[in-house]
Symmetry: D3
Subunit: 170 residues, 6 copies
């Protein structure tokens, strides 16, 4: 079972076509890919509407046809930076490469000797969780920015309605 | 996305052929199966040698050829029984059926109105995590009690050596 | 013991005549009223000067003559929205109605199937914890905005002095 | 509001006539009595079947006719002994006397300078949570050991059924 | 062992000559000094780059020649103000005086009856953690603002590089 | 600041002559020694009577004349084994050697690539925290088993009285 495994993390609120494009590229370089779902404990917030379980389901279905073994696993915020890497590695299969752009993530992994690579780029202006949530809130089109399977999950869980309600004020 | 999803939970220390047999049976009744990995935060103990990430990897590989969508997701012990069901449901895709034998699990789900079914039986004396760990500790045969993929994972992570070491006393 | 019980939640920093008016109205529609004291773990802050215990005492004395069974019970912030409802219900007597204006509270209860009603309105500009704390800090009149019993509690615990001190800077 | 307030703590699994007798005696010596419900976070266990909220309701109804102001407030186990007293005092109205038999509770309060008194005795063999739970499990008579209101609460929440189920094994 | 012990707290991000000057002054008035390292759990942030252990080492070496027994001990943020004092006292040797300027720290200790003194002043504009971190980020001189031993520690742990990296954005 | 630093951990309930002997031996091999005080959060128990702060004070005074820089630092139990090493290293100065006999401690450090050495032996039957606490409880001689400074600390904090009281039953 000598495999090349990599780790990639995001919040995926929601999982969109930009994520899909990055993962498809990484998939060509590895045998297995571990997708960490960050801030897993957070949901029902304007910037984090979906639960970890809902995000797992989005990813599972959106990547159904991808040609690589992948894992989608919740990673909670644990508030203590120097412990975070060992927290991640205890909740995931062993991996030897990390794909990350976030400077803190890079620093934390590199301090423990793990190799970090730049993931392939995608159009960050076009595909963005912030933009998708804004469109949901304002009733604009958003489904073309996510895989079909993600739109189906959001419909099943009545996600747009939830987002609008938690965005309200009393 | 109108699917029949079910939830099944175990500690899987390690995942063995008894688990495999139960899951193969449940798989025939559902579209998707969520496998909760209980006591996820626990490892490096005589009764809980393997991390959540290692157990995820065991299950992923052992069920490679199964004919159902499945999710293998860590579930931490949270020490407050009446909150546990909502903790589980926030970390998993939505499901409508639970397969469980454990009386507390049954009671907690039934109090919240979720239907609980008895999972199919397997030979509990033959296939048992306790027995497998005992065999590992005493240097007896154990690989015939687990799927081949699980034996491979345990070898990759040097699992038997770890179990023996944490079983030591100073 | 077939009773109509309702749940109403606030931070009560401090309990004021607006709260008193709402609760008096709700009391006419129920047999028992559970008053949740939110952010119970927070105190000694400019926006949250009083402890859970002090707020319990304010409510107990302010509602002495009300014609309904009531409970005043601390509810901590638990930082995980989908778990919050079961946290609340495990710390309170069973209830079938919630009175709430806050959109997140409404959404969380409705997702679990609990009925939520709009509580009766009161003059939010006149009676407001923010305004009362501002008056305390600036040495203006504030006692006419709270029940007499609340003013007594605040005096017993030397509450205005505490508020002024934690509002200081070094 | 210069009152004599005292604190008394128990687990109340369930609240029984022994507790009732002690509290009735203490009530004669104080203006207000704070009843701490210990191990509040624990329920659905053989030795701790009832939630904090259910125990609050038992006490509220069982003491309906008592001639003293009382508070029934959940107190969680916090696992750090030297912090426990300040945890308790932050969740309760101010008090100057503690009634306790438990040596650790006595030591912790006395180290912080709070006066501890022995509560009046009751027949500990006759009235005991352990004995009542045993009778519930074995189908023997138990209602004569608790106030009527407590028996009503346990019936409303279907408490005996829950106790029997969590006592099961798979 | 009848000693005069005092407590002084700071975040020490990093320990600088202003801290050194205050502590040298306090040292003349006491037999032993306990230095609490606040927000101990925090590191790898722009405003909190150094771990508790690194800060302990800075203080230990910077005060090598001081003529008083001192202790440098991590104190975590615990988020519940009324419990904080007992948390501190359980993690430190007994003390009877606190030196503090922070209004919340003063209020919390005084509410529990501990005497609080104003520590001697130092040039807060000149010696400031914020200013030192700014200089590190911008590549300006900063070593003259800290004891030599602190500069050595920061070099050993490659601290400036870490600060710059966690200050980045992706 | 290129130093040889080592880590040694114990519970030190209380610190005794066996600990003193081991540390004196290790001190000859290193420039600085970090003494971790395990189960730091625990006190006021029969097997763990003393707080972290009290144990820090014992060690500080007992090692006053030792010819090495040492640090005595509290280490809490964190209940998640694979995270423990990074928790320790974030709370301590950097070190390259661990002295340990405990199999779990050895395994956890070795899995992260840290070198573990056997500490020098001492008479474990003669010098033992368990035996010292037993003697304290039964009123037998114990002071000859600990450094004089430790006996002084225990007297200052009235430690034997506390141990006897928490050992009581109600």
């Amino acid at each position: 079972m000598n495999m090349k495994r990599a780790f990639y993390i995001g919040r995926f609120q929601p999982f969109h076509l930009g994520h899909h494009s990055v993962i498809t590229s990484i998939a060509k370089e590895v045998d297995e890919l571990i997708i960490g779902i960050g801030s897993a404990q957070t949901s029902h917030e304007v910037n984090n509407p979906f639960t970890a379980g809902e995000r797992v389901m989005m990813i599972r279905h959106a990547l159904e046809d991808i040609d690589v073994h992948f894992y989608a696993l919740p990673i909670d915020d644990i508030q203590q930076n120097p412990i975070w890497v060992s927290y991640v590695t205890s909740r995931t299969p062993p991996f030897d490469t990390v794909y990350a752009n976030n400077p803190l993530v890079i620093e934390l992994f590199e301090e423990t000797g793990v190799m970090v690579k730049q993931p392939p780029m995608y159009h960050r202006n076009e595909y963005s969780g912030t933009e998708i949530r804004r469109r949901m809130l304002e009733g604009e089109e958003w489904k073309h920015l996510v895989p079909n399977a993600v739109a189906d999950v959001i419909e099943e869980i009545n996600g747009v309605r939830r987002l609008r309600r938690v965005a309200g004020t009393d």
